[in-house]
Symmetry: C2
């Protein structure tokens, strides 16, 4: 039996990814020029498949970055002249505020208790903030930001840009792109691909903002300036030689997900989430870190353990199943379990049975 990875990312490869990578190597995808027609076809197909899978409107641009970290930097460089507003629910969402500060902007930050999400009324964005940043699924705590709060923020602050970190949420969580301006993710989480590729989706409001900043004499970066990235993406090109193998594999996996259907994928996620919840709730020595079940992520379960968490991790590892440690200060008292499209119902049932049987 192979090792099974339920880690929150990097995680198990999507079950078709290996075959696609082998085909890419065999057919010469890794050797083709990024200026040639073959690469343009690959990037075009990748854009089309993501657009269909994630219901991305035609006037949103699908750009290539190297990571979600890079998207944080590019969003601040291109879309924030002076001030940003960040909703921080844990380690990952907090980094966005840090990056804004490092780039010389004034970062307003609403920090909520870890394991919770803010109430709509608690979100008070100053007039001076140009952007609101939200993490859809805080992978360090397992808290999931409510979609209705995003929609309400759009209504309350129509002039501010809204940026969504989709990392461990998309394509599972259905985003209404009309209510946001930019969304980014890296591919090693819910898409189940090798790390080293990020996707950055932007609308024309972001582009106008960047163009405005240029007109005012601001520096907005160099080879990955947003206006240049959009121009290149329109003709299925990139500034640098990109991760062609990654773009190819993402396109193929997105297509496989389309063929399976996003609704069956979401139903499977729901089923697996339910059996995971059940075993956590019935186990005498385990507890959800996110207490409010409405705010509990379906794709990343964060579990407090009454014992040292590595005991469960080691027990499962001996059965060739890998789950994640708690994040940062919670390393020894929590575990994190991913529930992504690549994890089959049968695999999740096996994991759940093992956890159920675990007693110290």
């Amino acid at each position: 039996m192979f090792e099974l990875y339920f880690t929150p990312g990097p995680t198990a490869l999507y079950f078709t990814a290996e075959e696609h990578i082998k085909n890419a190597i065999k057919t010469g995808v890794c050797s083709t020029s990024h200026r040639g027609q073959w690469f343009k076809d690959i990037y075009k197909e990748c854009q089309q498949n993501l657009r269909e899978l994630m219901d991305i409107p035609d006037d949103y641009h699908i750009l290539i970055t190297s990571s979600a970290n890079e998207a944080w930097e590019r969003i601040i460089e291109n879309c924030v002249e002076e001030e940003s507003y960040h909703i921080s629910m844990g380690a990952f969402s907090q980094r966005f505020a840090k990056i804004s500060t490092q780039l010389g902007r004034k970062a307003h930050e609403l920090i909520v208790e870890e394991g919770t999400v803010p109430a709509f009324d608690a979100i008070d964005v100053p007039d001076s903030a140009e952007i609101i940043t939200i993490c859809l699924n805080e992978s360090s705590t397992g808290a999931s930001f409510p979609l209705e709060t995003i929609n309400a923020l759009r209504e309350k602050y129509p002039d501010k840009l809204i940026a969504i970190d989709g990392v461990s949420g998309v394509p599972v969580i259905p985003i209404n792109f009309k209510n946001i301006d930019t969304l980014y993710f890296s591919v090693q989480k819910a898409f189940g691909l090798p790390a080293g590729l990020g996707i950055w989706i932007v609308n024309n409001r972001c582009l106008e903002k960047a163009n405005n900043m240029v007109e005012k004499g601001n520096v907005i970066g160099s080879y990955h300036r947003l206006p240049d990235m959009v121009e290149k993406a329109k003709v299925y090109q990139t500034a640098e030689t990109p991760n062609i193998l990654g773009i190819y594999t993402l396109s193929k996996v997105a297509n496989d997900m389309l063929e399976k259907g996003i609704l069956p994928i979401r139903r499977e996620i729901d089923y697996k989430s339910a059996i995971l919840n059940q075993v956590i709730e019935s186990h005498p020595q385990m507890h959800h870190f996110v207490e409010n079940d409405l705010h509990r992520s379906k794709t990343v379960k964060v579990v407090k353990t009454d014992f040292e968490s590595k005991q469960l991790i080691e027990y499962l590892k001996n059965k060739k199943m890998h789950i994640g440690t708690g994040y940062g200060p919670y390393k020894n008292e929590q575990v994190r379990i991913a529930n992504f499209p690549t994890h089959s119902k049968e695999q999740m049932e096996m994991l759940v049975d093992l956890i159920e049987a675990f007693r110290l």
Copy 2:
């Protein structure tokens, strides 16, 4: 027979790369956490193998970027407060000057005729310039910057940083790191790996410069600020989830090159370069673009054709051999042929025989 890629990058994969990628997938390299010991071991081994292969001194740091484009940006952000000096021999070396300007610096530029390199006496760096940037091997023209000029520049300008674009030159061209401060390359050229990974090597003078800039209140970037990258690299970590598969494969290929021996690799490059030169010089309708044979790259041959170059390209493609077009404005009147470590003597002899037989 497989397709053979003599394109200047992306190019043929190093002949062992496919096996390493398959092993990586089989053993779970793509699913392992970038915060875990396994990743640290991979990055450490990669650093060690590159250090040995390229003779990189112990006090030079080996960092991970996504591309050479990113290294351009990071070098300007972290090592240039106000002014830079660029030796531009073609499209690739010129981009560095452009990036410096885009980032708000004053970029001095010595532009030499394409297909040539500047004489040492022609290089007059203003006192105000903080860095001198040089492309070791201008992949658009096939001109190779003389190592003795780099050494002479070091002697003449000991206080200025020297940055080397090593892209299609390393590990073939032997660099004396003591005479330079930073060197970067992407892996899809002479290392023969899938694109989407860059290596950025820096010494402590670069680091001090970045720290100085921070003290003066300059912005030096965010998640890839040089001081943070160096700190992380010391413990074999990166800020973002990096291209783990790429780092693993680079490490393994560097090790394969070490086992073969860098001297045998260089001797093979010399032999293949000689037979390529011979066929170019003996062919009645082909001519070297770089006239001075001392400045002609061994790893990227740029050839003027008296006919439309795509006729040769198509002729070879029908025999399953791929060579590059001319770069930019030279697209239709030149071809570019790579001579990298992955190209065997036998493959190069086959290519040379076909070119020799080609007549319009």
